[in-house]
């Protein structure tokens, strides 16, 4: 296990989870918009990926990218991440439903992104693979699936 990569992974996902959850919960207030929080989230995501790239560039002896992808393991990783994110998405959806989100789509996206980051964060403890390239490919695949599902499903649920 490569230590800097592990902490990079855990730290980035932790921060993204906090920002995402805070954005989603703040948007329960009718006068608050989730857009700014979403922009910060996207910015942090970019920073995290750039940081991963730096860590990867500093690490010696990288093999062929295709071999590093380990897609069989990656698909399983995506599946676990999706399952782990479901409770968080449901909880955020219920909280939003009780609130007064006036930007339904933005709130739904924030909740989906927060749930995705949470699922990936929990999964990161179990994931034996710390290769930044692997993380930078498979984690976003899983997370964007979850965020997209949240963005599409939640607006109907949090409607008031």
């Amino acid at each position: 296990m490569q230590l800097p990569t592990f902490w990079w992974k855990l730290g980035s996902l932790g921060v993204l989870t906090v920002v995402g959850v805070a954005t989603a919960l703040r948007s329960r207030d009718p006068a608050a918009s989730p857009r700014r929080g979403l922009r910060i989230f996207a910015l942090l995501l970019g920073v995290a990926i750039a940081l991963g790239w730096v860590i990867d560039a500093l690490a010696p002896g990288a093999g062929a990218l295709w071999a590093r992808l380990r897609w069989r393991h990656g698909v399983e990783c995506v599946f676990t991440m999706v399952v782990l994110s479901i409770p968080a998405i449901v909880a955020l959806g219920l909280l939003l439903r009780r609130g007064v989100p006036t930007d339904r789509k933005g709130s739904a996206l924030a909740a989906g992104a927060a749930g995705a980051a949470w699922g990936a964060f929990v999964f990161a403890f179990r994931c034996p693979d710390d290769d930044p390239f692997y993380v930078a490919v498979w984690y976003p695949v899983g997370c964007s699936m979850i965020a997209l599902a949240g963005r599409l499903v939640l607006p109907r649920i949090i409607r008031w």
């Binding site: 329960r28 207030d29 009718p30 006068a31 009780r98 609130g99 007064v100 006036t102 008031w160």
Partner: protein, 142 residues
């Protein structure tokens, strides 16, 4: 809308949250007038009453989310505006079909008349065997 009025509404809402029914009734009464004034300028007149009702229901259902420590007006404006946009969106979705200019078909009054006459004939028998002179049906029937 004066600032004092807004604060008054915030206080009334806070009292309503604490279970003061009289304050709540007064608040809803005042809000109803304000909402009508708000929606009359923004919606077709046929939608105003429904919009006011919708907004009052939303305010009632979401009243627990108002934080008495903060100004009432932004909270109210956001709720009312959301309901307004929701209604506008629904109006475009369920927009009534416009009637085309060429909707009218050639007159088929003659066919209707003869059908009526035929039925008349069965009911009144002999009387219908003769037709009114000059098409004066009213005089003929009476």
């Amino acid at each position: 809308m004066s600032t004092a009025g807004q604060d008054e509404w915030g206080k009334l809402m806070a009292a309503a949250q604490a279970g003061n029914g009289g304050a709540y009734r007064r608040l809803l009464g005042e809000l109803r007038d304000w909402l009508r004034y708000f929606y009359v300028r923004r919606l077709p007149s046929a939608h105003v009453d429904d919009a006011v009702q919708d907004a009052l229901i939303a305010i009632h259902e979401k009243r627990h989310t108002y934080d008495p420590g903060r100004p009432f007006k932004p909270w109210l404006a956001a709720v009312v505006r959301y309901k307004w946009i929701d209604r506008l969106r629904n109006m475009t979705r369920h927009a009534g079909d416009e009637l085309p200019d060429n909707l009218a078909v050639p007159d088929h009054g003659c066919a209707v008349t003869s059908a009526v006459v035929a039925r008349c004939g069965r009911i009144f028998g002999a009387r219908c065997s003769s037709r009114p002179s000059g098409g004066n049906w009213e005089a003929w029937v009476s």
